[in-house]
Amino acid sequence: MFGYLQVRKSELLVREWEAYKAVYCGLCKQMGKDYSFLTRLSLSYDCTFYAMLLLSLEKACPGFEKGRCRFNPLKKCQFARCDSDCYSKAAAFSVISAYYKLKDDLQDSGFWKRLAVRLVLPFFSRWHKKAARRYPQLETLVADMMTAQNLAEQNSETGVDAAAHPTANMLGSVLSLEAHDELQRRVYYEFGYHIGRWIYLIDAADDLEKDEKNRNFNPFLRVKAADMQAYQTQVLNQSLARAYDAYQLITLIDFKGILDNMMVYGFPSKQNAVVYHRQEEEDVKSV
């Protein structure tokens, strides 16, 4: 995943911002415990979103505790506690995604980046094995996604929808693992599907110029639109709108204010920043 699922800090209450940081720190701590302090480098806002959603769905956060940052012992911070395996699951998801992303980079990057990837890959492949053993379902879903993605990119008829489908389907399936009945499963799948689609497409919009130069695959390169930015905005808006519809049908209590903030402000402002190359407002730069 790529780090587009952000909050909009200016619209959060102070206590919500503290809680957001506490989940981020809690997840970071868990990654250190489960894998290694190095995996924390792969920690993204997307996984924080996933962890927070899990905590909220399972009502698994009984409170906060004070501690010190694992990176900077001088910095005090709060950790959101977790009764269940939400953090472990999010950490595993993060490690598995990072591993496949690295493997993918090995195929289509420049010489220096490939060299760097070769250096870190052995570590990640060990952590990846551990994560895959603990959460085999996540492993299968991400691995299938990569296969489907490669197939889609080789097909000359792949349009925007088909290109985004593997990621969207993967995230939809990952979230539906949390469902307790069929109705919930459909709602979670629909929510995950459109968020996943949005992530894939916003990443594609972000990389469009780079991909055009390097002749890499990008679904927007095949679109003939008079105004590309307007087209991207429409496609992305619609994914968010449909994700929001499904989101409305999920019962959330804990962290609802923060998740609402992301849905209503965070994602749209990130989207505008990417599509229109705007400078982001003072934002989540430092957690």
């Binding site: 929808d161 429409q234 496609v235 808006n237 619609q238 449909r242 409305q248 209503v264």
Partner: protein
């Protein structure tokens, strides 16, 4: 049935006004119009029913006797009108499959339709299958074709309008202000697009709510 106060998200001590307000917000949130064509329409309908029942239950318990009671014939109506106008079409079975979320079966029938029989309705239903799968881009072009072939058909037009409003954020509750119980999130006076562009306006407005 679960606690009706919990369903409405209010405390049992809430005033009648607060309950009415909470009810209205939820009714707006789950309104069938928000879920037209959505694969989750039935889930929203279910939620709407729960909210209506909870509201009625609370009114009964409080026994106001002012006639504020029953809601069942106002809100929630309209959920059953979908697909009612296609019962005599040649693609009747396709519509049934779509209604039941059996998209693969629907697509199989559509794809086996010979080129010559691909009417405006065929394009509309292809679009609906794509839409249900989340393939919005394809859905958009099928709906557009259907509308161009039969510009006077209200059903096709409605589907295309629904696409347009999603593409412009006016759909999906971005401007309905139904989240303001979580602390200053609501913004009913401007839609989210313009709200983001003029962050100042939005701040003021959100604080005001």
């Amino acid at each position: 049935m679960s606690n009706p106060y919990e369903v409405l998200g209010v405390s049992p001590n809430a005033s009648d006004e607060e309950i009415k307000k909470a009810y209205r917000e939820l009714a707006k949130k789950y309104h069938p119009d928000n879920y037209a064509d959505s694969p989750l329409a039935d889930v929203a309908e279910q939620k709407m029913k729960e909210v209506n029942e909870a509201y009625d239950e609370i009114n009964r318990m409080r026994q106001k006797g002012k006639g504020t009671g029953s809601t069942s014939n106002t809100a929630g109506a309209g959920g059953s009108t979908y697909y009612s106008n296609g019962s005599n079409s040649q693609f009747y079975s396709v519509r049934i499959y779509i209604q039941r979320n059996m998209i693969q079966e629907a697509e199989r029938i559509l794809d086996s339709t010979p080129e010559g029989n691909r009417t405006a309705e065929w394009y509309y239903l292809k679009g609906m299958c794509a839409f249900r799968k989340g393939w919005n881009d394809q859905a958009n072009s099928y709906f557009t074709t259907a509308c161009n072939m039969d510009p006077n058909n209200g059903e096709y037009r409605a589907a295309l309008n629904n696409m347009n409003s999603q593409q412009h954020f006016n759909y999906g509750g971005y401007n309905t202000g139904n989240v303001n119980n979580t602390g200053g999130m609501g913004c009913s006076c401007c839609d989210i697009c313009s709200a983001i562009m003029c962050a100042d306006c939005l701040c003021n407005c959100a604080r005001g709510c």
